[in-house]
Symmetry: C2
Subunit: 141 residues, 2 copies
């Protein structure tokens, strides 16, 4: 089990480095990850939602979002349902940036496929999802 998590950690580190090398200067992996999250799961989340999802302190998320807002990739608007809070909205520029980053990354990923095997990749996905769900639950259980 430790072995498994260790291996996963190394893979994540290597793929993060790969992603980083495809991002324009001034844009960090955290920025991309936040944009990607919003595109995949839908925007209109609160900053706290995102901090919890990424397991980072709210001050860190606040900083990341401030950077994205300053560059026009997201918009922070007051939360109509909660006077204390805000909502994070994607801008077109934000969607485009995320799309461009993925496009830039694609050739390098695609290059790995013949050696790796899509079937094999697909076959382990359900297990990984289960593991993620389990870890996700373990933090409040």
């Amino acid at each position: 089990m430790f072995e498994l998590l260790n291996e996963v950690g190394i893979i994540a580190q290597l793929s993060r480095a790969m992603l980083e090398s495809h991002l324009d200067e001034g844009l960090t992996v955290h920025h991309f990850t936040a944009l990607n999250h919003l595109v995949r799961l839908g925007d209109g989340k609160t900053p706290m939602d995102m901090a919890r999802a990424f397991q980072v302190p709210k001050t860190s998320m606040s900083h990341t979002l401030a950077g994205l807002e300053k560059r026009g990739f997201i918009q922070l608007v007051p939360n109509p349902a909660d006077g204390r809070g805000k909502l994070v909205l994607l801008t077109d520029a934000g969607r485009e940036l995320r799309e461009r980053a993925i496009q830039s990354l694609t050739p390098q990923i695609a290059q790995m496929i013949p050696q790796f095997g899509l079937d094999e990749a697909r076959s382990i996905l359900p297990t990984l999802r289960k593991l993620r769900a389990l870890l996700d639950g373990a933090r409040d259980g």
Copy 2:
């Protein structure tokens, strides 16, 4: 493929958070990861070896190792084979610290096993190893 790496990234993030919650104050995940690397693969590596292995800048590794040395968990000695370099040696305290951290983490990991299934964990390990090797090679090729 993106899906796979994304899932792996989330799992790594969650398990890192779990590990972090089991470390004494003042000790970071980076510290633990470095110690773990030395125990698993043997000490006597150079700082540069480790920086490359973790894909971090040498200045970052230098800082992490300085922290470990200050607390007595490793020892930095001149490299007899290279006057420019140093070698990283584990101390007994370092080995013990790593062992204690793992012991502290074990119950929480063990708790997941019944729900997850060891067979399933074992079955995806070879594929993950292959993926790691592929990513590892992709950075210079």
